[in-house]
Each structure stands twice: as C-alpha cells, then as structure tokens.
Symmetry: C2
Subunit: 173 residues, 2 copies
C-alpha cells in the first residue's frame, strides 16, 4: 500500500470534519428557529445505550487524530473530553483539523507495516494496514454518520450534500 492512500483518506477525514462543523451551523440555526438552547443537542441520542451526540463527535475526532498519529508514529495532542457546549465541541473539531493539517504524504511511509496497539487490546496488535481498514475507517464513519443521524433525528435540516461536501468532479471532454 503506497503512503499516498493513507494520506488521501486522512485528508478525506479532515474534509468530513469540516462538513461536520458546517452541520453545527445548521444545528444552531435550527435551535434558534425553534427557540431552544443549542447545547441541549449534545445530550441527544438514538437509543439509551448508544453514545450521545457529544461523545459521537469526540470519538470521531479521536479516531481521525489517533489514526494519523499511530500510522505516522507521531504524538497525538490530548483532549480530555470535557466539552459541554456546541462551541466547545466545535473547538475540539477545529483542533483536530489543525492537527491533521500538519501531515504530509511522506509521514505515512511504512504505515502499512507499523505495529499498532492500544491499551484495550491487552498486548495484542494489528498491522497499520489492518488497523486502518478494519478499525479506523469503519469507526470514523460510524461516529460521523451517527452524529449526522442524531442531528437529522433532532430535526436539523441537512441533506446528503452536507455530508459528502464538494466532489472533485471533472468537466466533460
């Protein structure tokens, strides 16, 4: 696997986090229109035993941040999960976007064969390639999509274009 692929997908994660930030504009507008405190959205969830919106966003952020760090061998900044307002949550998203801005394709040379582990795996590990494809990618999009789903379920006006963002379409001919 060439380093360019990791870099391209991590750039896509960054793009998706920017889209997510724009969803919060729609969320704030919806709250204002309906006359409720936008920060109440942070506690919304789809099932009592699923993460609330705030933790969906924190986990999407951490998955993007940690996959970039683990696949490049760099340190990840620490974020203590203390966000209590939409503005604080947006600052968290921006911090991760800024962190991802610091990477280049070269940082991911050798990523596929890196040894990746985390405390909950109790000493076990995955190759960088397996970790990225089996763990980071599905988890990032899981928590991103759940964030979107919670907002839609809460009445926020969003559509598929807000999810995908602008595509790199080429003109005919």
């Amino acid at each position: 696997m060439l380093p360019a692929m990791y870099f391209q997908i991590l750039n896509q994660f960054k793009k998706q986090l920017k889209q997510l930030d724009a969803w919060f504009d729609a969320a704030a507008a919806h709250a204002k229109d309906r006359g409720f405190d936008p920060n109440l959205l942070l506690a919304q969830r789809l099932a009592p035993d699923q993460f609330a919106l705030v933790r969906q966003v924190q986990t999407a952020c951490d998955t993007a941040k940690l996959s970039a760090a683990r696949l490049s061998g760099k340190e990840a900044p620490s974020h203590p999960d203390t966000e209590q307002t939409l503005d604080e949550l947006r600052a968290r998203v921006q911090a991760v976007i800024s962190y991802l801005d610091g990477f280049t394709a070269k940082d991911f040379e050798g990523a596929a064969t890196r040894n990746v582990t985390q405390p909950r795996w109790e000493g076990k590990s995955m190759s960088g390639a397996d970790y990225f494809v089996e763990h980071a990618l599905p988890n990032f999009y899981f928590h991103l999509s759940h964030t979107y789903a919670i907002l839609r379920h809460s009445g926020v006006r969003l559509g598929k274009r807000d999810y995908l963002g602008t595509l790199s379409l080429r003109a005919p001919g």
Copy 2:
C-alpha cells in the same frame, strides 16, 4: 495507489455486509421476542425525510457493488429494489457478497486512474481514486451506519462488536 488497497477495502465492505446480515438475525430475534412482524422493520426510519431501512440497505449494497464494478471495469448485476421482506433483503445482501467474492486484487490494477461517471453527474466524471475516497467510502459507511442506527433505535440488541466484526489482532510477542 496500489491495487491492493482497493481490494483490501472492498474486502472490508464484504466483511461489513456479512456483519449486516448478522444484525438481521438479532432483528428477527427482537421482533419474535416482542411479537411483531420483523418485516415492519424495513419501513423504519430516523426522520421522515431520510431513507427507510430497506433503502439504506439497498444503497449500501449498491455502493459496494458499483464501486467494485466501476473500479475494475466489470459489469455489475442488476438489482431492481423490489425487496419487501427481511428475507428478500438478506438475499440482496448475499447476492452482493457473492459478487464481491469474484474479484481479485489484480482486477483493480489501474483503478486509481479510471474514469468514473454516473448519469446524475451530467457528463462530469471523477478519477477512480477520487471517486473511491470522496464518494464510495463515505457513502457505503453512511448507509451501513444508518442501517445499524435504525435497528438500534428500534430496540434491536447490537453492540460495537457486531458492527466491526473480528479484528485481525496478533498475539503479543
């Protein structure tokens, strides 16, 4: 981008579709336990202007099927979206799993630079690499995660392990 990466991620799509099929076991068990017709789940949705479960599954299936076809230059089988029962929907998922079984890494040589288009793009196109990273990957996981979210919201007992499946963890040492 090496062909192996497309192949690895499409294999992951296949794995996720197998997980999805197992969610339907849990969905059928939940319906039986609560004494309702499991086929009622197909019409569940999280917002009136979002796809119902049946269409989330059909779209996840199509995204996996069409990305494999478009990136390899092969024909995709046609599925007319006529499913009305959980069993018919499971057959659709199985058909796509079988289709994906027919691919090898070699089929995706040159995938990154293929010209990919679809009718709704009105003559515009994307490179295979951009299409896969900006369109196929986010869409596949969007519809997969929404399927999961609808089931969870409907009370079906599922957890993160049912979403991710078994990871390729290596023993310590």
